[in-house]
Symmetry: C2
């Protein structure tokens, strides 16, 4: 018998406990947080019966086989929610608001074509489902319909083109499976895309949300890596070719990239791959005296034209202090030395750098960055902290469940911003967080460009019990408003979904949003594709 | 009194004569080409009167000022044609087929807004005019209307953002003026975009055609460099922001980039700039024993992850032999040495490489390429040939007029192709050219990526007098068909225009083209923007 807790758990059902240092830090920060929150260990139930008629279910059986249509609560609930904070609150309380009527697992591209044709003719909503890691409420089915999940069958490498150095891969393949297939190829490749959600996200999801990974500063975001797409829309199929660039009208790859399932279903992706040569990687880690020093080091590096590192990341003073505290470094001998040297807690910032690819080039780039850091009050503390960070880089998300069990709200938000606006935006966001009661906000920069960077916010706060939904929404709204007013984008790589949709017109302008809607209605005249999602078209 | 010849001439009215070595080469190749072709030195005349009513002309006066509306033949004819081969044939024969009714020079962004609103209300076609270097028949006005030329007033740098390392520039600014402004800035910048048309093309034209320059392998194409656009469409204005990346739905920059004036008028572009440090540049030049060796060197370089050179160019054996002949190197002592070493004419290929940016990195990249070349039968012949090529890089276009005066057809074509398809495409194109009577075709690769490259074709052939239009169209069609069947794109950076439009459906697919048309009709419901151009919507 499955519980909501089973669905809440991460893919391999791991549970993590809070380390003593983390508990201590929380206690210091929030005082006695003895409260607890419902764990969701209650049997699954779903009050909304599947609205599909028997004829419709039979038609779906006919298209994909009966074994690939699931109307059971477990499948429907699993496909209702992603990993947004309120998704987790709902599941812990056993509430299912917008489930699909069925989950359908197409076996082939042709199945997808038939499914979309059938649903279009019968006006049945389709919610394309990637790996279930959406943090933007991108998967809900307020009008019912079917969740189309490619992970069961459309999850293989189609081919690796050695000459072009590209992989063509079915959209439902998960990150680790793809990376394993590439690593194990005789030539040894890597996909180069390692989002925090890597273990639980798919290539198709990466593409339609314009995902970014921890090595994206070197390898690029998905929109920089995708060459070709195979897409099924209600008005037909489109397959783009793998030209490295072209000038044959505007490029519809850049319409489907970022479309978040509102235009069609991506079934196949052709993307760049790179040689897998982990021995070539060079590492460096730095402490800076201030956030500005660290940001300047990043900006100068990205504008100096000697190549980019792959991992390039700084933690702001709050995040740095918490890292030091939870790693037990705080008040150690090393800490005392740092403080004496002027790297004061509350000011100092950590930077992690790794450069892959050609070994000599990687060493060259790291050497250059050391020089720039040194000119900006940066202290090189060796490669080890970066290596250690990389080893546990997917772990922090696993703290979410034990934190929420203790009644601690935790979520993240991110934005992209030009260098010129970055410092002001960071200060405004900090001021906003500091004005909230009992709120801890950590900030890092993890994706860096010649002309700007992202900022990534992680926040923790004891839940306002009884008002935990609304208080969170209010907090979130205030922060997004602050980012937008400070010149930030709605998202750098999480996407829009239902969470950010309310800001689309303000940020993009009415004419821009109208154009997106018009394009959507061209491809999807009956509005069956993820209706109501980021474009608000119900 | 102006003649057609005056319009034909390049911007500063330069005329060039053929060097003796060139004349000799032509004689060797084509025999006695004693014929001549009309030079166009006849008075301007235009049989199609301006179809604008007096009210319409007065309304235009009202919007931009009477001094910025021109209905005289010189302006109308100048704005009728670009630089496509048949454009030149028509002008030499004093034929003007599709002139605009007037040329209008808006003074401000607001003028453009008013112009488009007025023309939309009165269904007057608008042909956005860049620098007049179109080689795709992108500027014609078969339905009449106004040519909107931004070069007179909207031709300035708006601002340079030092922190972001970007320039915001009005779309009508010519390449040399922009580059001069950037070079002369206290920080010293370069735009990094040097197309063959550099002297006679504008930033707006670069953007809407997705231009590429000679340094694009390092700096990227326009679609890689543009961060923000200000566009006026018949349904309103859109201004995109300068986020380095974002994930807020799909990116409409990539709809306007490549739109070739069919959706609206770009009035302002925010693009990346880089430090101008010419002393840092490293050069290398190579001779290879075969085209395959040279191509392999390029491919390995681009896939080795040590950084890219900025200029990366190879000439195929035919182009290499002609370069040697016209530079008088043929049969020199150096040539004999090369032949003895196995670098045989008819097989050998020249490669030019330059790397800019950080000096140490530039040297590092060049050193790496020398190693790869050496492993692929490449002989380093010093930096000088590349330097010399760069010095005269805009000159070859000036040979066009003296060649045509002698009755020699000359034009170019280009395509993008994946590495896997490149060799086959090159062989097919070569076989096609060799099957044509008396046709010399030179091929080079000048834009290189991890996953493929462009191929650029330059052809010369004695005109078939009396049948010079149709025979050219037939030749051109056969070559494009060959490229498309061999896996090439319709264009890498010239764009589509009326010349490539007939292939759009075959290459992109009907569903793709239908989507472009639907998007066009959203922005331009009355089809006033460059009607009939690449989308064939009259």
């Amino acid at each position: 018998m499955n519980s909501f807790r089973d669905i809440l758990k991460w893919g391999d059902k791991r549970e993590q406990t809070l380390e003593a240092s983390m508990t201590k830090m929380l206690h210091t920060r929030f005082g006695d947080v003895a409260s607890s929150y419902p764990k969701g260990d209650i049997p699954l139930n779903i009050t909304k019966p599947s609205a599909l008629t028997q004829d419709q279910v039979l038609a779906l059986f006919d298209i994909v086989g009966a074994e690939n249509v699931n109307t059971e609560p477990y499948a429907r609930i699993t496909h209702s929610y992603g990993k947004y904070y309120t998704d987790l609150l709902y599941m812990r309380n056993g509430v299912v608001t917008n489930p699909p009527d069925a989950v359908v697992y197409p076996r082939t591209h042709t199945d997808v074509v038939k499914l979309i044709a059938y649903c279009n003719a019968h006006k049945i909503p389709i919610i394309p489902f990637g790996g279930n890691s959406s943090v933007t409420r991108g998967l809900e089915a307020p009008l019912g319909g079917i969740s189309v999940d490619l992970t069961r069958h459309l999850n293989k490498v189609v081919y690796i083109n050695i000459t072009n150095q590209t992989v063509t891969v079915q959209a439902g393949m998960y990150g680790p499976a793809l990376e394993k297939a590439l690593n194990e190829h005789a030539e040894g490749y890597t996909c180069g895309h390692f989002p925090q959600s890597f273990e639980f996200s798919t290539v198709g999801g990466w593409a339609v949300t314009k995902g970014a990974g921890q090595m994206s500063t070197g390898y690029g975001k998905m929109e920089d890596m995708v060459l070709g797409l195979k897409v099924v829309t209600p008005v037909g199929e489109i397959e783009t070719k793998d030209f490295p660039r072209s000038a044959q009208g505007w490029d519809l790859n850049h319409t489907f990239l970022g479309s978040e399932g509102t235009l069609g279903i991506v079934t196949e992706v052709t993307m760049k791959i790179r040689k897998f040569r982990p021995k070539n990687t060079s590492f460096a880690s730095f402490v800076f005296k201030s956030f500005d020093d660290a940001v300047n080091t990043m900006r100068i590096t990205m504008q100096s034209e000697f190549g980019f590192p792959h991992l390039f990341r700084i933690s702001d003073p709050e995040e740095t202090d918490i890292a030091f505290k939870t790693k037990g470094f705080d008040e150690s001998f090393g800490d005392k030395v740092l403080q004496t040297l002027g790297y004061k807690s509350g000011k100092r910032c950590l930077m992690f750098v790794a450069c892959e690819g050609d070994a000599a080039h990687a060493r060259f780039v790291i050497r250059k960055i050391k020089g720039i850091a040194s000119g900006n009050n940066g202290l090189h503390i060796g490669g080890k902290p970066t290596r250690k960070w990389l080893e546990q880089r997917y772990e922090s998300a696993y703290l979410r469940d034990p934190l929420m069990d203790k009644g601690i709200m935790t979520d993240t938000l991110e934005t992209a911003v030009s260098w010129a606006n970055l410092s002001g935006l960071w200060k405004n966001a900090r001021a906003y967080a500091e004005a909230q009661p009992n709120t801890l906000m950590m900030v890092h920069i993890s994706h860096v460009y010649e002309n700007g960077a992202n900022l990534y916010f992680t926040f923790l706060s004891p839940m306002q019990m009884g008002n935990e939904y609304d208080s969170y929404i209010l907090f979130h709204k205030g922060l997004v408003d602050t980012l937008v007013k400070s010149g930030g984008s709605l998202s750098h790589h999480h996407g829009v979904g239902r969470v950010m949709a309310p800001w689309m017109q303000e940020v993009l302008g009415k004419n821009y949003l109208d154009a997106l809607k018009a394009i959507k209605l061209h491809f999807d005249p009956n509005n069956i594709m993820n209706p109501g999602q980021m474009l608000g078209l119900d």
